[in-house]
């Protein structure tokens, strides 16, 4: 997997590059601001980019805007937002395209480097990887009360794990149930949220989006 890292803190950038290298992830470029990120992505066409939200010059949401730009111009490059705080609006904005290939993880998730690299792989493969914190905030503050009410508690849990980017198989392992049972929950969720079969593989992403859109 070829990856570009954009992080303005040299300390975290170097640490992340070393950690990824230890897990066999090839970091083709590590940059410190959004402009350099866009240049690096255009040059290397990586499988994924790990992007800090706050970067120079304004230290607000440069990384996020660059991420949206990358998803637009380089659909083949997944974007994993790497942030120190939870911001559901940012996640919603990124998922706005509905095509997947995006993730939002808190920086401390690198402590579990195996899961972090898995999440990066999912994003690179066009899936999603939302931080459990982001997901729980979305559920906590969901403004789509009607849609949420329609789901059973178990279905809500399943949706939460879907939002984190887990496959049916992984969810089944988590709950210690059969994959069949999870598929049934997922089908129910799609039905209750009004997602037709025709929407194909993106339905998982769209289901998550239903909550994000509010």
């Amino acid at each position: 997997m070829r990856v570009v890292v954009a992080e303005d803190s040299a300390l975290l950038r170097d640490g992340l590059v070393q950690l990824l290298a230890m897990r066999g992830v090839e970091v083709v470029a590590a940059v410190g601001d959004a402009d350099a990120l866009l240049v690096a992505v255009a040059e290397h066409g990586p499988d994924a980019a790990v992007v800090d939200v706050r970067m120079p010059p304004t230290q607000t949401d440069e990384g996020l805007r660059a991420a949206v730009e990358i998803r637009r111009t380089h659909p083949g490059t997944g974007v994993l937002i790497f942030s120190q705080y939870v911001e559901t609006r940012h996640a919603a904005q990124l998922l706005g395209g509905g095509a997947g290939g995006v993730g939002y993880l808190l920086k401390e998730r690198v402590v579990d480097i195996g899961e972090f690299v898995d999440a990066l792989g999912r994003v690179a493969a066009g899936g999603t990887a939302l931080d459990p914190e982001v997901v729980s905030q979305l559920f906590g503050a969901s403004r789509r009360a009607s849609a949420l009410d329609a789901l059973t508690p178990r279905e809500r849990e399943v949706l939460g794990l879907m939002a984190q980017g887990l496959t049916n198989q992984a969810i089944a392992e988590r709950f210690v149930v059969t994959e069949r049972a999870v598929e049934k929950h997922v089908a129910n969720i799609f039905a209750k949220l009004g997602l037709a079969v025709g929407e194909g593989g993106h339905r998982r992403v769209l289901a998550v989006l239903r909550y994000l859109e509010g």
Binding site: L11, L12, G15, M22, R23, E108
Partner: protein, 418 residues
């Protein structure tokens, strides 16, 4: 042309002001009388309140007129915030001192408008008559029979001197021209009392100005607090939090290395980096805490200032004489003023020695920071001194800066204890 336009406007005002003021006063007086007569019934207070409010409306017309025609800008006093029901409204109107000031104004305005009109009329009427005297004397005269039986036509005479013949009429024409020339100034002068009373009765009073000042300093204090919180958040986010994430990364690295059976010197190198980060996180936090509330301040401003002086790269002499301790908020403001001024001195002035003198007692804390640097410090846009002045203003204090080019710079801060 501007002068002519101004003149015409002033004339228009002189003409309009009096009738308007008369009608207004009449309405108000009648309103108050009727309200007074009916005050035994429930109707009276309503009539009075309506009259007072009407007086306010009329006054704002007069204010606008003075602004448009005389260029007398009187700052409008913001209206009272809207209140609940009609009874609330009535009570608010009747209790509003500013509203009653407008009533006073409406009653005085006719008297005050008279001089303007009289002077304007006299100046221009006589000015024109005098100017046109050489022509008018042929039309406008009285015929007198002199003792010797002859008829004489007299148009204008002063103290028995007839001013109709050459060269006397030239003097009259000159007088007319002079009168017309000085007329605008005289009219202006005659309007002065009108303007003055308008300003004092309809403009913001001392209380209004105080409220305005309080609103401004409050807004600044709120902004200041928000900016401080933002700065702390940034410092935490970019400093301590990032260091801790870095520490977590290094610990993860160590685990990976140990699990992979890496040689110990490789592991040790990462451990050392992690230690460095942990230490730096503590240092960052200490700096941040000091920026929020220096622990030394708990022991008194003098102790805190001594600590501050020891931290400064410059030679700093602190002299403190504080009797009764001021409130913690005032101490904190004084401390951060001193900190900012010392930082400024170190950064910009090129000074060798800074003297900090703080004296407290009698309900006033005074802080003087004097440096022997190059001077030229100004309170102005973007200057740190402006921010300090805002903070000091929030507690009704004041900040003065004397900093001639070439130095020395002396900044005085005076803070009331509460």
């Amino acid at each position: 042309m501007g002068a002519v336009k101004r003149l015409l406007k002033a004339l228009l005002h002189a003409l309009v002001a009096l009738p308007l003021a008369l009608v207004g006063m009449l309405l108000v007086v009648v309103g108050l009388l009727v309200g007074g007569v009916f005050s035994v019934t429930a109707l009276g207070p309503w009539v009075i309140a309506a009259t007072v409010r009407g007086a306010g409306g009329l006054a704002s017309v007069q204010r606008a007129l003075a602004g448009a025609l005389l260029g007398v800008e009187v700052e409008a006093v913001p209206p009272l915030p809207p209140v609940g029901g009609p009874f609330e409204w009535r009570r608010a109107v009747l209790a509003d001192r500013r509203a009653w000031r407008t009533v006073g104004w409406v009653c005085l305005a006719p008297v005050l408008a008279v001089p303007g009109l009289v002077v304007a009329f006299n100046c221009y009427a006589y000015g024109l008559l005098f100017l046109l005297h050489p022509v008018l004397r042929h039309v406008n005269y009285t015929t007198v029979r002199t003792p010797d039986g002859r008829e004489r036509r007299i148009s204008l005479s002063l103290f028995g001197v007839q001013l109709d013949a050459w060269p006397w009429w030239l003097a009259v024409v000159a007088a007319g021209a002079l009168l017309l020339t000085v007329a605008p100034r005289l009219v202006r002068l005659a309007l002065r009392p009108y303007e003055k009373v308008l300003r004092s009765l309809l403009g913001p009073g001392a209380a209004d100005r105080r409220i305005h000042a309080l609103e401004e300093t409050r807004a600044r204090a709120v902004e200041d607090a928000a900016a401080t919180l933002r700065r702390i958040e940034r410092d935490l986010h970019d400093g301590t939090q990032a260091r801790l994430v870095g520490l977590a990364m290094h610990l993860t690295m160590i685990r990976e290395l140990v699990a992979g059976g890496a040689p110990s010197d490789q592991v040790l190198a990462v451990v050392e980096t992690a230690q460095g980060n942990a230490k730096q996180a503590v240092v960052d936090l200490r700096g941040l805490v000091k920026g929020i509330h220096p622990p030394a301040l708990d022991q008194g401003l003098d102790v805190a200032l001594a600590t501050l002086a020891a931290d400064s790269p410059l030679r700093v002499e602190v002299r403190a004489g504080i009797g009764e301790r001021p409130s913690p908020a005032v101490e904190s403001i004084a401390y951060f003023c001193a900190a900012e001024l010392l930082a400024n001195a170190a950064k910009h002035s090129g000074a060798d020695l800074v003297e900090v003198e703080v004296v407290g007692g009698g309900g006033v804390l005074s802080l003087v920071v004097r440096d022997d640097g190059s001077g030229g410090a100004v309170v102005g846009a973007g200057s740190g001194l402006t921010g300090l002045r805002g903070r000091v203003g929030a507690v009704d204090g004041m900040l003065e800066c004397e900093s001639p080019v070439g130095g020395p710079t002396v900044v005085r801060v005076v803070l009331p204890y509460r």
